[in-house]
Symmetry: C3
Subunit: 316 residues, 3 copies
């Protein structure tokens, strides 16, 4: 049974980009387009979801991500409730379920869930009542599907197609839900030259099975690419355990102006944010002319509006 | 002088169910009915309170209760402000008053107040400006009137009348604002066979004066009842002081499948939540076919909408 | 270049009252008038800013101030996001900028900023994208322009003009952004007899250059005044460093009924709140017939609505 799609292939929950058909991904990107354009023209409010209730249920603190979902729901005129829950207070599956069932009973229509445990969003989707939708806003190392969608949306706005595009994802692949969700989405959308680049301890075994190539040398990995997706290095967890030092990582994998100058002139630089200046990226590159980092944030609201509209149009 | 009712008998503040006339209680339940039905049909939004300001002023942390009041006000299209105040920072009556007067000056129309001190809601109602309403969301051991209303609403939806109904309230009666508010409401609504059941240290002296009978043996107390209202055991405060152990409480007073099977087949099980599985109730009973626990949560939003609509229709 | 005004003299950002022309100040007060009157008549909601996004970005905790801005924006039908940020986590200017740029990318239209560092609001205004407005809700000792506007609005409602009015500002002038903003606003509005009163350590050197007179003796400073603006004493920071004791401050500078009785009978008493009873003011004076303290809070919402309406009518 497919947790994400109903019998007619419509989106019920968005948990992961893995297994999502290309037509659905494209529809989600298409649906984001008018939201992005209207906002650029100063029109941000759509009455589509008046009377719907969206609950931001965040077990992991992320003001930035929570705010984009809050704005997306608010601009669709839904009622939004923000709940920040200490993960420790709901450690047991039983209690997680009580929380879900209680909020469901208050007739919430959609839960946006962020949790440090991989699989948390699936757990909620398995137990959700019919007509209640789960939107994964990041679960452990597993998936962050709206980030992948907004990245694909941003790439498409600049490159117009995925066929023939070379994309490199650089950095800490092993711990990254963003990398995993991007690989599934970009592969499904038709991108065939997809590379992951990083030091051996940060590249998971078996990643090639997802249809990507692996490169440990940065400049070889970036050779001829059209798009670079840098990942945020979780600095605290890294040094000692996976990396000798941040300085060494920057020396070997940091994207600098000097390195950027040796690549294709029209190469685009992306990063899910927040950036670590001087670690995975130089500040001048982050705010330079080839960077799409700020545009990614902007597109993030439009893409999340698209996903909410798509899912809630399928409930009643 | 009646703090809750004006000269025409209309509701100004809701502080306690004590002394509320049957006709008013029934009107509040009647008014909740269309909200409950509309929400079940997927219609949750009513423009009734556009432009009104509801302040959730919580001196005691309760995300669950706060969320139901927030949703109730939002679905009535009121503007809602959530204020979580550390009780310690407003320990003195003087400062409580400053807080009230400041928020009143911002033209709040209704304050939903939760406070650990019994009488806090009365204090606010005594000092509120004309046209400013106080809604008690639980004050100390004193009262929790909307919980009593939603319990009555839930019972009425299933049993249709209160005359001839046998209702048992089980557990820690002495510390429970829910028990007290339920007794007043159910008595006023016409329930004559109302029993409280629990170990002697948890039954307050003089409770029989409220028109209830007392039983210390669980199965004798539940004999022939139509509705069981279990109370949440405040575990931390109990053991040692009032009870030998949680296991012993469960052995003597926990509602299990086995015990439930020996009661009237149509008996209904209620609990204000959140439940302590394996203490006052077995998990299988809580989610079993006779449990109304989830329905209580759902009805809680409709009943709170009804109370807000009733009170704010009396102000301008 | 003027950060606050565009080439046509329209308000882009509100950072300080310093340098604002009288005509603009008067327009802001005029625009607040219908909001104040409508709210008094029970009408609080204006659809003016539907679809606009207001972000309350508070680096300093102030529930009271945040609530007035939240209500002002909500009553203008804007979407409001509250972000409480620990100042420590954004200590470096670089990171402050990342926060601003990220939220800008989510198409926020107006940022209400409170920060403990003087100049923080200017920093944001200097770096804000075109069409993004900054509203200073208090930055360090520097400025609190909406407080000054609401004070001027309150004075004008009672005294109808500023010419010929004597106003004394009493207390801790040296640390007070309220004092500074009030002086600039009242001077620009035509008030010529403006006095600051307090003990020598709390009067900044050079204050006379702003066009005020200085008095160290309270009753001499209040002689013949029409309006007294008391300041909140930051008790924790004061004793030892600037003052021998709170009792001594109250003895020398506290406004008591007895002192008030010796002044002009129609003198008005103002305070930005929250008051320290028994320090800068006696409780009986604070809630007495000459006090405008509660009215200041009420006017604060109308004035903030006026400022938001004025600024956002200049963007698109």
């Amino acid at each position: 049974m497919n947790l994400q799609l109903d019998e007619q292939g419509r989106l019920k929950h968005l948990l992961t980009t893995e297994g999502l058909p290309r037509s659905l991904l494209e529809r989600l990107l298409d649906r984001a387009e008018p939201y992005a354009r209207a906002a650029e023209a100063g029109f941000k409010k759509d009455p589509l979801l008046v009377g719907k209730t969206v609950v931001n249920l965040f077990f992991e603190n992320s003001t930035r991500t929570r705010t984009t979902f809050e704005l997306a729901a608010t601009r669709l005129s839904a009622d939004v409730v923000n709940l920040q829950v200490a993960a420790s207070s709901t450690a047991k599956g039983e209690t997680l379920l009580d929380t879900l069932k209680t909020l469901e009973a208050m007739q919430a229509d959609l839960f946006v869930i962020r949790h440090e445990a991989s699989g948390a969003a699936h757990f909620f989707a398995e137990h959700a009542a019919p007509g209640v939708a789960i939107l994964n806003a990041g679960d452990g190392r597993h998936a962050h599907p709206t980030q992948a969608l907004l990245d694909a949306f941003t790439i498409r706005r600049h490159k117009h197609k995925f066929e023939g595009l070379s994309v490199a994802i650089v950095g800490d692949i092993v711990h990254s839900r963003v990398a995993r969700s991007n690989i599934h989405a970009l592969r499904s959308l038709g991108c065939t030259d997809l590379r992951v680049v990083g030091p051996p301890p940060l590249i998971p075994a078996g990643i090639v099975e997802l249809g990507v190539s692996v490169e440990h040398d940065l400049m070889r990995g970036l050779d001829g690419v059209d798009v670079i997706i840098l990942l945020r290095l979780q600095k605290e967890r890294m040094v000692g355990a996976f990396l000798p030092s941040l300085g060494e990582f920057h020396r070997d994998y940091g994207l600098t102006r000097e390195r950027l100058a040796r690549l294709k002139p029209e190469v685009l630089v992306m990063h899910p944010g927040p950036i670590n200046r001087g670690v995975e990226i130089e500040g001048e590159v982050a705010y330079g002319p080839q960077s799409l980092i700020i545009e990614q944030v902007r597109n993030g609201v439009a893409v999340r509006m698209s996903v909410m509209a798509e899912i809630l149009a399928n409930t009643q």
